[in-house]
Amino acid sequence: MVKLAPIASLNDVSVKRRGKTILGPITHSLESGGFTIVLGPNGAGKTTLLNVLHGVERLSSGTVTWTSRDHTAHQEQAFVFQKPIMLRRTVRQNLAYPLELLACKKHETELKVVEWAHRLGLMSVLDHPAPRLSGGEKQKLALARALIRKPKVLFLDEPCANLDGRSTREIETVLREVSAAGTSVIMTTHNLGQARRLASDIVFLLNGQIHETDLAQDIFNAPKSPEAKAFFKGDIVE
């Protein structure tokens, strides 16, 4: 995988809530063009790290610098949540929504809506109310809605948690395609198998700190720390 430039640099970033440190202090750069998977046990700070990178988390200290200018960086990013949030509209209207915010032309919007509905297998439910879709369909819609603006960076917070094998495979296929097309993907997961299938890089978080980070094949074959070894072996790590 070709690395281009840093997406974002975290400089001594920490997040505290009610006096407890949730994340950090972290100083780290995330490079573009790869498929980065953030792994770690529950409570390690994976979601918080994603929120920090997306710029929607209030920092207790430190700074985040995006390669793009700050005001455009957010527009070039998209986020898929673990529990998909559906607007109380049809699938078509949900897909069109991010483009409407950018005041895209109707004809252009419609073309993109159909294109992404087709890619994610949502054509048969295009005019169905989104909140009535199945879990897998909702997550596919959330992914299509995130990708319709062609983001440079895509954040996914355990997008396949609670999904069946078929939906997981469909989502992974699309993620591989968008990553190959140049979108930087940063995703959290609990599923080590999924991490092995998709990741080019791994960030292993433990107790709010980046404990270890490396190319996926290196970290899976020879993790350096005993905690990472234990985690990849499937042991409980605290």
Binding site: H54, V56, H74, Q75, A78, F79, F81, I85, L87, R88, R89, Y97, P98, L101, P129, P131, R132
Partner: protein, 234 residues
Amino acid sequence: MNEIWAGILAAFHLIVTLDGDLVEITLRSLQVSLSALVIASVLALPFGTWLAIRRFRFRRATIATLNALMGLPPVVVGLIVYLLLSRSGPFGVLGLLFTPTAMIIAQVIIITPLIASITQQAMRELWAEYHDLLISLNTSNRQRVMTLIWDGRRALLTGALAGFGRAIGEVGAIMIVGGNIDNTTRVLTTAIALETGKGDFALALGLGFVLIALALLVNFAIHALSRTERHGTW
């Protein structure tokens, strides 16, 4: 009991014969209350939604005040509007006292807090649901308010209908600022008050039944137009 039957018969007679006075005051009632509803909705829906999504220093106090204003005594509102619009008042030069416009102003003041408060409560739940997505999409405050109003329109309809119900049945304020002038500011509620005062209970009851029918009709019409029952269960 006889008077109730007489009232029903009077109402039936008035409607079947399309009594000229009845048609006129019914249309004026609708004109005043629907105008007030539209103006109040334009003010209250964005304000209530904005209140649901914004965090600021006196937010709790603002919401508490808004809730308290839901119980504004119409007679007091009428009195204040009367003083403002009377010849010696600050807006006396506009010559609005004893006109339907004055009645609309009074009704807007009465129903705006009601609609805004119901809107704020309904939008608070929807905002909790949409919060992460709308933040993630980097939406502006205006886009958030518009999205919530559009997606929560069925919940907001309840607020609007509550406002309409309060406006169409209101008598104290519009009696003071409208004056119940025949052919000019007389509406169903003030006509009922007048007929009751004259002792013509049958006609007063007849007008009362027409008023109830009108309120139900508008509610059904709005529900039908917005197709709440067919598409309401998102």
